[in-house]
């Protein structure tokens, strides 16, 4: 039952928050308790995976591969743990960030429905069930995008829903093709059935359709444009939740499906992923340089980070997959920190546009550090967490002897540093257009506490990177050779 609580807790919280519609105070309390309960549960799941290895649970007691299976292996466990962490941070931040009106439109129930979808997608062992969780996420995130009800929100939401609906249809089409070719939906079962069949046309066709579907969710080139168009419109709490977790679900799905289900070595799929990854990195990094507000720059930085992770997956050596995983894990914290930091910055300076904000470094130097550290980490500056991720990927590309890829890893890192420096120069260093005296507000504790916690985690991962990299390497080994995962799912009902 342990894994199913990861669905019951967020859904139950959403139900209670909906029933407590009249009292925002009660919704707030319920929602925080729900997020804390989710965090405690995800810690328990992570501890169990760390001590006993992967384990699976069957819905309704129907044994795999006939029933729906939830599986926790290292990758899933770390992702749900990060989901719990980010959920708590974002909800605490939302107390100071989300307006009364937005809360009345159902901010709390929708957030928890989104969390349920994210946890479901991370834990499911069934590819059709994963589609269902993508739908849950899509509907909840659509609700969260329009919760403000303004023109800008609606504009962003339409672009978001437009592409995501197409991607979801492609997802179900790919699953249909795969089911037609193999007669299975359980991913561990598919792993066995596809052994040695990777070059057949229907299998390759389904893989290509799924790459399009997951690629759109993860914002890969050339289907990334919905992300920078929509992530700067909702409340900062919602943007942070989306930036930290939603695109990562697409990356997670790509990593899971293209290590467990498909064997991509030596097929055109590997080349396709590699090319897409490099273009995604380049387009994201260049796009970030052309934008004029904090969240728009960060939106493009998400795109280039996604490119890095997929690069690691496409290179597919153990070191490269380790790098991709480490990048994925630490990027959840970095993106949450940056987007929440953007919210606090707007609170102080009155705007997140480059021309209309400034002076924060002189008036609030300590707060500025809480933005500088994740920004440097994103750019890959030592000693922060992002440095190790980029180092691992750079070493992996050197190992396979591809100078071009090594150059891309380093050059895109440099461009990201440049983009972060532009934010720093415009919003923190330059004088506020109305004089630095315009910054009078004190940040509420609800904003500072999550920022401090996230920044602390990034610094800690950067300094004590050894165990984390070793953990990522162990998880990568489990992905490349998924014996333990398959045994946990198919080796008799629990």
């Amino acid at each position: 039952m342990l894994l199913f609580w990861a669905l019951v807790i967020p859904f139950g919280t959403a139900v209670l928050a909906l029933l407590a519609w009249r009292s925002l105070e009660m919704q707030r309390g319920i929602s925080l308790i729900g997020a804390l309960a989710l965090l405690v549960l995800t810690v328990r799941i992570a501890i169990r995976v760390a001590t006993e290895g992967p384990f699976a649970e069957q819905a309704g007691g129907w044994p795999a591969p006939y029933g729906i299976t939830l599986v926790a292996d290292g990758l899933s466990a770390v992702m749900v743990l990060l989901t719990g962490l980010v959920a708590v941070a974002v909800l605490i931040f939302s107390f100071a960030d989300v307006t009364e009106g937005e809360k009345h439109y159902g901010f709390y129930p929708l957030t928890h429905a989104l969390l349920a979808g994210i946890c479901g997608a991370f834990l499911t062992g069934d590819i059709f069930n994963m589609y269902v969780w993508f739908e849950v996420m899509l509907i909840a995130s659509f609700g969260l995008l329009v919760v403000g009800g303004g023109k800008a929100q609606l504009d962003g939401a339409i672009k978001y829903v437009g592409l995501n609906l197409i991607a979801t249809v492609a997802f179900i089409a790919g699953v249909g093709l795969l089911y037609g070719a193999t007669g299975a939906l359980n991913m561990a079962d598919l792993h066995g059935r596809l052994m040695g069949r990777g070059a057949e046309t229907p299998i390759l066709a389904s893989a290509a359709v799924l790459i399009f579907a997951f690629g759109s969710k993860a914002a890969l080139f050339p289907v990334f444009f919905w992300l920078p168009a929509s992530y700067h419109t909702p409340t900062f709490s919602t943007s942070a939740l989306f930036a930290a977790l939603l695109t990562k679900v697409g990356v997670y799905a790509l990593i899971r499906v293209f290590t467990l289900v498909y064997d991509i070595d030596g097929t055109p799929i590997a080349a396709l992923l590699l090319g897409t990854a490099v273009l995604t990195m380049a387009v994201g990094a260049l796009g970030a340089l052309s934008q004029g507000s904090i969240r728009r720059v960060l939106g493009y930085s998400i795109v280039s980070s996604i490119g890095y992770m997929i690069l690691g997956l496409a290179v597919a050596t153990p070191l490269a997959v380790t790098g991709a995983l480490f990048y994925l894990f630490q990027d959840v914290l970095v993106k949450a920190n940056l987007f929440l930091g953007a919210g606090a910055t707007k609170r102080l300076a009155g705007s997140e546009e480059f021309g209309k904000a400034g002076g924060i470094w002189r008036v609030r130097p300590w707060f500025s550090l809480l933005f500088l550290i994740p920004a440097l980490s994103l750019a890959g500056v030592p000693p922060f967490s992002g440095f190790w991720a980029k180092l691992l990927l750079a070493r992996a590309t050197i190992e396979i002897g591809s100078a071009g890829l090594t150059f891309m890893v380093l050059a895109v890192g440099f461009l990201t540093l440049f983009a972060m420096a532009r934010i720093w120069a415009a919003v923190f260093w330059s004088a506020h257009p109305e004089g630095d005296g315009a910054i009078t507000e004190r940040l509420p504790a609800a904003m500072l506490v999550p920022l401090l916690a996230l920044t602390g985690a990034i610094v800690y991962i950067g300094i004590d990177a050894g165990p984390m990299v070793a953990g990522a390497a162990a998880i990568a080994t489990g992905l490349i050779d998924p014996q333990a995962y398959v045994a946990a799912v198919l080796g008799g009902a629990e």
């Binding site: 039952m1 019951v8 959403a14 139900v15 209670l16 309704g60 007691g61 129930p109």
Partner: protein, 150 residues
């Protein structure tokens, strides 16, 4: 715009549709039908009231906020899942508290348990969601109509 014919028919049809929806829901236990279709039918009853008597009358007929009804339904479904989980250790496992199995393997008693509760949840989620969407759309349309009249 009110139509005498429509509102008179509605008064008769609405209870009929609701009874039918409950029947379809009940039948769905072992035969075609079930919570989803039943919930949709029930929603059409309230849609009819809304068309004939206006939004306020439909809201009064429904009594509770559509969101609360949907939340109640989702809660029922969750409870049915957790019930099986606590009793047998498998989430969503069917629990039949009124059924006893004798020595020959024959079942006696009421086939009434967690699966019925799950279906009831589906019924209310569908009813609440469809009514919620319909009322919200009508709300916007009627507000725009007011603006045009001004």
């Amino acid at each position: 715009m009110k139509s005498l014919i429509l509102s008179t028919c509605t008064r008769m049809l609405m209870p009929l549709i609701l009874i039918l929806s409950v029947f379809v829901f009940w039948r769905g236990h072992n035969e075609p039908g079930g919570g989803f279709i039943g919930g949709l039918l029930a929603a059409t009853a309230f849609a009819l009231v809304e068309k004939a008597e206006g939004l306020e009358a439909a809201k009064r007929a429904l009594r509770f906020r559509p969101q609360s009804i949907a939340a109640f339904g989702l809660g029922c479904a969750l409870v049915s899942g957790v019930w099986g989980g606590l009793q047998y250790g498998y989430f969503l496992k069917g629990v039949w508290p009124f059924i006893t199995i004798d020595a020959e393997g024959n079942k006696h008693g009421l086939p009434f348990g967690s699966i019925f509760l799950f279906d009831l949840g589906v019924y209310f989620v569908v009813l609440g969601t469809v009514c919620g969407i319909l009322f919200a759309l009508e709300d916007v349309v009627s507000r725009e109509a007011d603006v045009e009249e001004d």
